[in-house]
């Protein structure tokens, strides 16, 4: 125990004492900074899926498990999509770089939950194409949700670094601006899905509107040239 304490004390100060001229955190290896962050986000983001599965298997989803699972996966998709949208404004406002490192993971998780949400809906309707088609065509509530999922699909498919290179950044960026449309449709879908108490979807609307406003303000201002 003693040894450990001594060592840790030296670990904190030793480097600086020996080389005061160097920055405090001396040369890291090739490992990316904050190596725990992205994996933590992925595992944390997948955690609700695991709990949901566990809930389903233990009967903890209540009397109407399919409905509960549909609702939760939809909420998870929207929440994660909003979190992914918050990354860039947060980075710009604070100067932190870490939000940029988790944006992709959050976006992909959002797509994953949206796809799962749709899959549960398909299961709910016994994968009957006629029923699903009628819903998508005739009921705006379903149409907008389905459209949001469709819009997220190309974004998920072009989420790799390779895809950015292939498309070229400006084109890739323009494509990924579809996320605004997807988020708006997602929020509308949530609004229409609620029978009466519109407070939770209203919160989602306000958050998304706030994030959009931040971007628009940003865009109006001339960008500082280096």
């Amino acid at each position: 125990m003693k040894d450990v304490r001594r060592l840790s004390a030296q670990g904190r100060n030793g480097g600086e004492l020996a080389a005061p001229a160097l920055p405090r955190r001396v040369p890291r290896r090739a490992a990316p900074p904050l190596p725990w962050l992205a994996p933590g986000v992925v595992v944390g983001g997948l955690l609700p899926a695991g709990v949901l599965l566990l809930d389903a298997l233990t009967g903890a989803l209540g009397a109407n498990p399919v409905q509960r699972a549909t609702l939760q996966t939809g909420l998870l998709a929207l929440t994660l999509l909003i979190l992914s949208l918050a990354c860039t404004p947060l980075r710009r406002l604070t100067g932190w770089t870490w939000p940029a490192r988790i944006r992709k993971a959050l976006g992909l998780l959002a797509f994953g939950y949206a796809a799962l949400h749709f899959l549960i809906y398909l299961f709910d309707h016994a994968f009957t194409p006629g029923v699903v088609l009628e819903d998508v065509v005739k009921r705006p509530f379903v149409t907008v949700g389905f459209a949001a999922l469709l819009l997220l699909l190309p974004l998920a498919l072009t989420s790799t670094r390779d895809a950015v290179r292939r498309l070229g950044f400006p084109k890739w960026q323009r494509l990924h601006q579809l996320v605004y449309v997807a988020a708006s449709l997602g929020v509308l879908h949530y609004w229409w899905g609620v029978k009466k108490d519109h407070t939770p979807p209203l919160v989602a609307v306000l958050v998304v509107a706030f994030l959009f406003a931040l971007r628009l303000i940003r865009r109006r201002r001339p960008r500082p040239r280096p």
């Binding site: 962050l37 989803l61 009921r139």
Partner: protein
């Protein structure tokens, strides 16, 4: 040397270029990783996961003796387990969540309880619930219950036909409709502290619908006193209509000349009509009504016209355009 990895180079302590000790870094990263997982995962859970199944109602006082054989209006389908029938409820007076009624039903005091019966009647009366109940022999009815949201249950009610009550108070010749009003008391109904709906909850029936032998006033469920979340102490049950017509915790029954302005039809007139007969052919604007999930089953089943009671009630609507009068 306790707990030291043997391969840790001693000179690392003096070499500024050496990497941070791998074990320390590993522990630090593991801690930060765990923290991230806990923060994001926990946050998402808190935001999106509903608490598990609510506790079922403590069984109320027994109300009736052993079941009699099935009556002419009973369905022989499997009855929805008490645990589910008392934990999955739409009762916005307690809150919009399905488990809110079960959680909060304790605040409703079903005794003492007075029911006012007035309007176009020859014998208006203000009557205590126990007295009202004693006027009629209790019957049991096993009815299908179809919610407008697309799920259904099979409920073993205890109570008396509304027709028996109406005959007793004698509607006059001007009476065309029956209006029901639920209790309005935010102290007992926490959901009424907000204005999710225009309180009190009001429902109504045409007089001939109200007099139909299927139309029932329930005071019990599964041989016991009706639990708060199911509409204690007195509720309407109209099995061929969507569940929201079957108003709970009734305090007033008024015979009227005009069609009552009912709560959901006022709140969303394009989605919920006055008639609200179960009809697989008329979709809700946001979902199809062609199928339903029987609580306890994973697969949907087809929804039947008039919830399977067409033979008994379809004649009430002869000549009406049920797409218009949904």
């Amino acid at each position: 040397m306790t707990g030291m990895p043997p391969d840790l180079p001693e000179k690392a302590e003096t070499d500024p270029q050496a990497p941070v000790r791998p074990r320390r870094e590993f522990i630090r990263n593991a801690a930060l990783f765990t923290g991230t997982v806990a923060l994001l995962g926990g946050g998402l859970e808190a935001l999106t996961r509903r608490p598990g199944a609510a506790a079922e109602a403590a069984p109320g006082e027994p109300l009736a003796q052993a079941r009699r054989p099935l009556g002419p209006y009973d369905t022989s389908e499997a009855v929805t387990p008490y645990a589910q029938a008392t934990t999955y409820n739409n009762f916005y007076e307690f809150g919009t969540g399905k488990d809110d009624p079960a959680r909060l039903a304790g605040s409703l005091k079903p005794r003492p309880w007075t029911v006012l019966i007035d309007g176009e009647v020859k014998k208006p009366v203000r009557v205590d619930i126990d007295t009202l109940q004693s006027w009629f022999p209790l019957e049991d009815r096993i009815y299908r219950m179809r919610c407008v949201e697309g799920w259904s249950m099979v409920m073993p009610w205890l109570g008396f036909p509304l027709a028996a009550l109406l005959r007793r108070i004698e509607p006059n010749s001007k009476a065309k409709y029956v209006q029901f009003t639920a209790l309005h008391d935010p102290k007992q109904f926490p959901g009424q502290r907000g204005n999710v709906l225009d309180w009190p909850y009001v429902e109504g029936l045409r007089l001939d619908e109200a007099l139909h032998p299927l139309t029932f006033m329930a005071v019990g469920l599964q041989g016991r006193v009706l639990p708060g979340q199911n509409g204690a102490p007195l509720r309407l049950v109209v099995p061929w209509k969507y569940g929201f017509k079957s108003i709970k915790s009734v305090v007033r029954i008024t015979l009227t000349q005009k069609q009552p302005r009912t709560t959901w039809a006022l709140a969303a007139p394009d989605e919920y009509g006055f008639y609200a007969n179960v009809n697989p052919a008329v979709p809700h604007p946001r979902w199809s009504q062609a199928t339903e999930r029987r609580i306890g089953e994973l697969r949907r089943r087809p929804t039947l016209p008039f919830n399977g009671y067409a033979e008994q009630v379809a004649h009430l609507y002869k000549g009406m355009d049920l797409r218009r009068f949904f």
